[in-house]
Symmetry: C2
Subunit: 418 residues, 2 copies
């Protein structure tokens, strides 16, 4: 089987696709990062537990722990809650949330929330401010000033490994350009650069809110240990994040997961994206508000109305729920997930009209993938997206702990710009 | 950010998701497999080229090449076409298609094709036979007897590393059970076991035809070097295979890629899967035949008719093409591929009515992912699926060359059962 060109098929491919060879140094880096990831996700573990989980011998584990301790990333101590009198309990290796921290930011339509999260996941300190001027420049400045405030907090750590920023829109992975964020009114806004310029020395990563919600539920919420997960969010519009084979799906440019814009009803209602009959036009906030006869309701009123509305057969919510099932079935047939998490307004629709969601889902989904599917609501609550932004910021560290922690310039010490 | 249960969040997750630590032995295995994969995909390479591609030093490469040579997997020789008189040309490392081979099988509705493919991808020998009795048992026996015939061919190699089998249906990855293959009339047929029982000592992997088509185009065809690819096949029904971030998407059970069963027209025509308004009912063979006014045509006649039909605006094909665009847009919005390959009848529709495909695609797709998209037809032709089945069979070898080649019992020497 060879290609049609003169050169043997696969030459170009092999260059790009086949992994490079591994080196001793790469192995060490991988093991340091893996050990730290275990601690970051599981919390304190004894060396014996680490040895078992990593499948390495005790002396290798000891060497890795020493190196991470020298980098201020871990500390060995007596487990919390164990009495000093109980003999000599073995020490546990603890991820240091006091020294190693990441910036997490959630840009919403009405407010910006910024937090310092410690290694291990706990939020150390946080700030929230209303958005008064929703331009990319003003929001970037607001975000950066909140970060500066947090970094002057006594609880701020010595090593700030980077910043993860969530945006309710389609984000180009390469540079954090916001291609389209209808609720913010942004198109092609170079938001990543605007923030990066204000936080010199800090690595800034920008992601889509639903992608980060998926990541958070996968690492710390309803999808722990589940390797094929679809997270569906619904605030004004409908967004999605996919974890496939244990990795965040980003696609060619970082735009993957826009399941709100699957066409499910050709020639249907116009969508904010310019197309017609998108799934969002049948199950988004506007469709729900219209179905409940309250087209001008605030989001809070709408949530309350969905929660108290009847969801039985023939109800307005049941019809919405039927469309929810159609869209979920499309995703199930396409990617065969074990778990679909329905968030935001769709969580409320699901709780109120679960029978209708399931009925239309099983009518439209193939039985083989459908029988593997669980439907669930998010576990992390209001902080899901913020937690996901933190996980985005941790990725560099967990890929190369020593490289990141030895890098200078994580501390933003510039005076605020005016 | 911690979970709601008593134990810290992520404990279970960390067990399953965080990679184990790497060992010296694992590193060696990875490097052996990577080097062999370079040769398998690119063909003969000099040690200097391997050194550059792998990013390892010359002595490490020399050691890996020696080990693979001792395993009969490679041989060093003068490059083909270089005159002996041209000084002393440096040797190239050649993958040995004469000793190391895989079985590839393509089960169709009308015939079974079986081939021996050599390391590097060339087909060494092949056989095809008509299916007279389309039960799972009879097809498994037919397939196994063809394999036995091939293995008694003088060109058969010493090491047969496994078998890859393509099925036009939904296949459970774990055990090769065919959950649903409407064209074969099979439901829950334990085909993998039926074949495995007849080919003792050989590792048998069964896959879906569109998934394997995607794999073949990715490794050796139109999608070389492209890491996010959707391959869409259309014979009777419409199937799909997805390569995402450089890996075949299988999903929870191996069922991913059933894009023919996305609902695109709720309440539309009934589909063979039991649902209504699936994409397949709008763009599959039956829909095309109906649109062209030849509902009882054979597949060959249908292909000829599509190729000669007018595809301009307002034509019957243009309407089909419009639905093609809608379905492709859904996939584009969901997974943001660089490349969608339209195969089978959809290749002919695309060639005849490209303008209509593109118009409806750009109406329904978001502009950010759409601008990254290329549409293309397959490059490998009639043998695509067979080539993909071979690639499936090679996976074990490329993950652990020494482990597979030192394993006994690859040669099927049992007498045929009657």
């Amino acid at each position: 089987v060879t290609g049609s060109k003169g050169r043997p098929a696969g030459v170009q491919a092999a260059r790009q696709r086949v992994a490079p060879g591994g080196t001793q140094e790469g192995l060490r880096r991988h093991n340091l990062g893996t050990l730290l990831a275990h601690l970051h996700l599981a919390g304190p573990l004894s060396r014996a537990e680490l040895t078992a989980r990593m499948g390495l011998n005790r002396s290798t584990i000891a060497g890795l722990v020493s190196e991470l301790a020298a980098l201020d990333a871990v500390r060995e101590e007596r487990p919390a809650g164990v009495q000093a009198s109980a003999g000599r309990p073995s020490l546990v290796v603890q991820p240091r949330s006091d020294t190693v921290q990441a910036v997490a930011a959630d840009v919403g339509v009405r407010q910006v929330t910024v937090a310092l999260a410690g290694l291990g996941g706990d939020v150390v300190t946080r700030r929230q401010r209303q958005v008064t001027e929703p331009t990319p420049e003003a929001v970037a400045e607001l975000l950066a000033s909140l970060v500066r405030t947090l970094l002057s907090d006594p609880a701020a750590g010595r090593h700030i490994v980077g910043a993860g920023v969530s945006i309710p829109g389609i984000v180009r992975q390469r540079d954090g350009c916001v291609r389209f964020a209808p609720n913010l009114g942004w198109t092609d806004a170079p938001f990543g650069e605007l923030v990066q310029r204000r936080l010199e020395g800090m690595r800034v990563h920008v992601g889509n809110d639903a992608d980060l919600g998926a990541l958070a539920e996968y690492r710390r919420g309803a999808a722990r240990g589940v390797d094929n997960v679809v997270f569906i969010s619904c605030e004004v519009g409908v967004g999605g994040g996919l974890i496939l084979d244990g990795r965040s799906l980003r696609g060619a440019g970082g735009y993957a997961g826009e399941l709100g814009h699957m066409t499910v009803r050709p020639g249907g209602r116009p969508c904010r994206c310019g197309a017609r009959g998108c799934w969002e036009t049948e199950v988004g906030a506007a469709a729900i508000a219209q179905a409940l006869g309250m087209p001008d309701a605030s989001m809070d009123d709408l949530v309350a109305a969905v929660r108290s509305a009847p969801g039985g057969r023939g109800s307005a919510l049941a019809e919405i729920a039927g469309w929810v099932g159609v869209g979920v079935a499309n995703v199930v047939n396409l990617v065969n997930p074990q778990l679909v998490i329905l968030g935001g307004l769709l969580e409320d629709v699901f709780v109120a009209a679960e029978t209708s969601v399931r009925a239309s889902l099983s009518a439209a989904a193939l039985s083989a993938p459908a029988e593997q599917l669980r439907l669930q609501v998010p576990e992390l609550g209001a902080d899901t997206v913020l937690a996901g932004a933190a996980e985005l910021a941790w990725e560099d560290l967990l890929a190369d702990p020593a490289g990141v922690l030895r890098r200078p310039g994580h501390r933003v010490s510039d005076p605020p710009r005016t």
